[in-house]
């Protein structure tokens, strides 16, 4: 029933969310619940001399004030799971240093205000470039090993980590990671270039700004099992981290991935260790819901990055060489940083004769780096795609034609040296080239312009499993443990319906917890539809086989001569010889029944990635007197493999484009020179609100992924990657000068117009 694929349908979770009946992690009723409120560090770097809880404990209703020593941590480390509360050393302003637990949230907050923390200030490392110099003050003086590194990076992208860098370059201990990626004769390739351009591009820390702040409720069952109700992208990864830190057997932890009110990469085991530690220490249920200000201060936004790039091309526009030095501010994340992904994507979906990229992950006293939709990719694309426009301009070439000349195709060598799988770089560039907006770009009013850019995402992989179960009413339940982000459950419903032969409205999808669900990794890296979706497909096929075997006996027709269409098993060519799935299920699911339950289990272990590419057109107007940039129109063309549900695919394309608008024009977390956050609320931190977002036109391009379910691939991340660069290119075209720092705020544009 592949005609079910490609039809726009409402999301399966929409009715409950629209009507307000969805229960999020902060909504569940738990008897005897205690509330936790965090005490956040006011210093960016300090030693904790003493924490005095006495005044807080005197507040009526306050049950306990917990510090690091009170949590039953068996395996200390410096990652946020292993160190949910700062031990002796505070490493960023906003780091949780204590939890006040009380019978009401208000009492806990009253108590949290009265906890006295005595700090001995240490030098705050806030300038990521200065932090690299030999002899620079260290952002963390106590060094500890970390074992989460590979785990968390692999959630987000299937990239190799390059080679270790040249050890000759002397750098400070703040430099936690050095990567070199090189191929070809760089000097010769630059020498063969007709034009070479370069620039240093800066991007700030950017918050995921999900609607629902981080929240977790944890309690102990009488049996001793720790139950964790969380707004998380990954139930198994959370369970494994908690088991490691609190030394619990895996079967004594049950993590429930509740419906998520937005996450975009940021919800992986930040508040769970806090709520669980408190529940384990007090043996009472504990809920921690961050306020918006706390969520800004204490979580894990996207890294600031400094990217120096130099690129060259021949006179005909053939790319020659690209050289880069990328500095990624990891904040306090010793485990991993965006430098691995960013350096692997900075060459773009293009062929180069030679490249040499050096990337550095540097610790500072700012936040803890975390994933945000395509980590490291928008920053890399901003640098590359800005310079490609400069290159086209220097060579007198059309920017799209020049990119098309160099766009990768299947079989071109990738960064790892292996041939690239199919991806629609050429196709999406051709789609925007054909768009009327591109043709009109020279006929626009003064102060208006159109810019373009492309960006790609490699797509992650991870083995996954799923179960499909048919009930006695003929409906199907799909069970996975993948957190439902970006509409993946709606995709599973269509995959299962099409593979089995049911109407999608007869399929519901449930998210299982870790105690009984089939395995699934964290939802992220644009991998869920591609991997878990493939498992759902196989599970539905396995269930279909069961129903065909039963129907074969009922109808006395060989299974190969039967088909399942819209819930009815019928003979191929003689549709009147049929029996409904419901009837078979009723015969199976009863005392003395003769057929196996109509259930199937399926698994997948994808070995090839399915990269997605998107190209953007951005139409802007710049107010030359005030510097304000107004977005007038945005066009995005994306290779989505196969659009299982075009309505949801377009939603992802729009959402990615909008978050790209945030990178381009609005979003910026800043600190003062002492490392204290200056933009810790929505009064200061601007996001692209509805009134500032223009019409977005979505152009779906389908280059099927060979191993994807019905050709689908993961599409969540690619649409954000090129959007900031397209807007920056449009602004540069409108004002005739280029800005090398995001976001392009009105004061910055105004200043650029005057210099």
């Amino acid at each position: 029933m592949s005609e079910l694929i490609g039809v726009a349908r409402p999301r399966v979770d929409a009715p409950d969310k629209v009507s307000g009946s969805t229960r999020f992690a902060a909504d569940g009723y738990v008897h005897g619940l205690l509330h936790a409120r965090p005490v956040l560090a006011t210093e960016a770097h300090a030693r904790i001399r003493e924490i005095d809880p006495q005044a807080a404990l005197a507040i009526p209703g306050v049950v306990a004030v917990l510090t690091a020593a009170d949590l039953p941590i068996a395996s200390p480390g410096t990652d946020r799971t292993s160190e949910p509360l700062a031990r002796e050393e505070v490493v960023f302003a906003g780091q949780p240093v204590a939890l006040v637990i009380a019978e009401t949230e208000a009492a806990a907050q009253d108590g949290a205000e009265l906890v006295l923390v005595d700090y001995e200030a240490l030098p705050a490392v806030v300038d990521v470039e200065a932090a690299m110099a030999p002899g620079a003050a260290l952002a963390r003086t106590v060094e500890e090993s970390d074992d989460e590194a590979g785990d968390l990076e692999s959630i987000h992208a299937g990239v190799d980590h390059g080679q270790a860098d040249d050890p000759q370059e002397e750098l400070s201990g703040n430099v936690l990671d050095r990567i070199t990626r090189e191929r070809g004769d760089l000097a010769a390739a630059f020498a063969a270039s007709a034009s070479v351009v370069e620039g240093t591009f800066r991007t700030p820390w950017v918050h995921q700004a999900y609607l629902e702040p981080q929240v977790c409720t944890a309690w102990l069952e009488p049996s001793g099992t720790l139950v964790v109700s969380a707004s998380t992208q990954g139930s198994f990864v959370t369970r494994n981290g908690l088991a490691r830190v609190y030394d619990l057997p895996l079967d004594r932890i049950r993590v429930i991935a509740e419906p998520i009110g937005g996450s975009f990469g940021g919800k992986l085991s930040l508040v769970e260790p806090l709520a669980c530690g408190a529940a384990l220490a007090l043996k009472r249920p504990v809920r921690l819901t961050l306020t918006r200000s706390e969520d800004f201060a204490a979580t894990n936004p996207a890294s600031a990055q400094v990217t120096h790039l130099k690129v060259g091309a021949r006179a005909d526009g053939t790319f020659t060489a690209i050289e880069g030095r990328m500095i990624v501010d990891r904040g306090t994340n010793a485990g991993w940083g965006a430098e691995g992904i960013s350096s692997s994507l900075v060459t773009g979906p293009y062929r180069w004769e030679a490249y040499e990229i050096h990337a550095y992950g540097v610790q500072t006293n700012r936040f803890t780096f975390g994933a945000y939709r395509a980590p490291g990719a928008p920053t890399a694309a901003f640098a590359l795609e800005s310079l490609l426009d400069e290159l086209a301009s220097a060579l007198g070439l059309d920017p799209i034609e020049m990119r098309l000349r160099n766009a990768v195709v299947e079989g071109d060598p990738g960064m790892s040296g292996n041939p690239l799988p199919t991806m629609g770089a050429v196709e999406v560039l051709e789609r925007i080239r054909e768009h009327p907006l591109w043709a009109q770009r020279d006929a626009l009013p003064v102060d208006e312009a159109v810019g373009m850019a492309a960006g790609h995402w490699p797509g992650g992989t991870e083995p996954a499993a799923a179960v499909c179960r048919v009930d006695s009413d003929g409906s199907m339940t799909v069970v996975t443990s993948a957190a439902d982000m970006s509409g993946v459950n709606s995709g599973f419903a269509v995959i299962a319906a099409a593979a089995f032969g049911l109407s999608p409205d007869k399929v519901r999808v449930v998210t299982a917890d870790t105690s009984f669900g089939p395995y699934s990794g964290a939802s992220g890296g644009s991998k869920v539809t591609y991997t878990v979706g493939a498992a759902v497909l196989r599970a539905a096929e396995a269930a279909r086989e069961k129903v065909l075997n039963a129907a074969s006996q009922e109808l006395e027709i060989a299974p190969d001569d039967l088909e399942v269409v819209d819930g009815v098993v019928r003979a191929v060519g003689s549709p009147d010889r049929s029996i409904s799935v419901e009837e078979i299920a009723k015969k199976a699911l009863r005392f003395g029944g003769r057929y196996e339950p109509i259930e199937g289990h399926g698994g997948s272990a994808q070995t090839s990635g399915a990269p997605s590419v998107a190209a953007h057109l951005s139409h802007v107007r710049v107010d030359r007197e005030t510097g304000e940039v107004t977005l007038l129109r945005h066009v995005i063309a994306q290779d989505v493999g196969r659009a299982l549900n075009p309505a949801l695919v377009e939603g992802q394309m729009r959402g990615g484009a909008v978050q790209g608008m945030g990178w381009a024009l609005f979003e910026e977390l800043t600190h003062d020179e002492d490392g204290r956050l200056q933009t810790g609320s929505f009064l200061d931190y601007a996001i692209p609100t509805a009134e500032r977002v223009p019409e977005i036109e979505t152009l779906i391009v389908e280059v099927p992924a060979p191993d994807g379910p019905f050709g689908a691939k993961g599409i969540g991340e690619a649409p954000v990657v090129g959007a900031p660069a397209a807007i920056a290119n449009a602004v540069a075209a409108a004002i005739g000068t280029r800005l090398y720092e995001l976001p392009l705020t009105a004061p910055r544009v105004w200043k650029a117009l005057r210099s």
């Binding site: 208000a106 009253d110 005030t626 024009l665 601007a686 009105a746 200043k751």
Partner: protein, 259 residues
């Protein structure tokens, strides 16, 4: 966002409201669009919030050449009001404040006495020469808005005084007014906003967002006036913006006066 504990009392009459406001650290609440956010951040910790939203201090009425605006009138009502020529800046400004939800609840009186240095409507009221009727247990007095706004979040009103009427002279025939602002992209408050009233024989311009309070631009212009800068927008940029919005507001008001 967990406010400190507070008590709540609904005033049934103006006199009762004034009496309730006699308690130390009492705060009047109408639409709550300014007070509730600062309470949630615990910047404000009133002992009791005195709900005055049911008092009869509501409505827009022109009589005998004067516009009377009840302080409990919402932005949504002002945005939809059809007023005499010359008062165009009032609905224009109200329409640009906050979002639909804020405009449905936020009141003009609450905004004026909150005295945010970047609030929009006070600039319009200053340009239009508005006066406030103020009531206390000692009786009533009338004062100019200019005298009430004394500093950031600070007014010359007593803790037991309530604004009962906002009085705006209707400009003479052939006048026009306008409000233009450049907003902070996050807060929506004015980085610089200007209201202009152009009458046949004179004009008056007030600005907001650039100083300790919204203020009337002196005859010589802003050249000698100190302009506030901050991390997002420097004083230099704000001065430039102020000049731009003043010119745009003036041009728009002129066009309306001619029309």
């Amino acid at each position: 966002m967990i406010p400190a504990a507070t008590r709540y009392a609904r005033a049934q009459s103006l006199d009762q409201a004034l009496e309730l406001l006699g308690e130390p650290d009492a705060k009047a609440i109408a639409g709550g669009q300014s007070l509730i956010p600062v309470m949630k951040l615990r910047i404000a910790r009133p002992s009791v919030v005195v709900d005055i939203s049911r008092l009869e201090l509501h409505g827009i009425e022109e009589r005998e050449g004067t516009l009377h605006i009840g302080p409990l009138t919402t932005w949504a009502e002002l945005a939809a009001a059809s007023l005499s020529p010359g008062l165009e800046a009032i609905p224009e400004c109200a329409h640009g404040i906050g979002d639909v939800q804020v405009r449905n609840l936020g009141t003009i009186g609450g905004s004026v006495v909150h005295a945010d240095p970047a609030s929009d409507m006070p600039a319009v009221l200053l340009a239009l020469g508005a006066r406030l009727q103020v009531r206390s247990s000692d009786g009533e007095r009338e004062t100019s808005l200019e005298d009430v706004l004394v500093g950031p979040f600070t007014t010359a009103l007593g803790t037991q005084e309530l604004v009962t009427d906002i009085i705006v002279p209707v400009p003479q025939a052939g006048s026009g007014s306008a409000y233009v602002s450049v907003e902070h992209p996050a807060s929506g408050f004015a980085l610089a906003g200007a209201a202009a009233l152009v009458e046949p024989d004179r004009e008056r311009i007030a600005v907001t967002g650039v100083g300790a309070t919204p203020f009337v631009v002196p005859d010589g212009g802003l050249g000698a006036t100190e302009i506030f800068g901050d991390r997002f927008a420097s004083d230099e940029y704000r001065r430039e913006l102020a000049g731009v919005v003043v010119e745009r507001a003036r041009a728009s008001a002129r066009a309306r006066s001619a029309g």
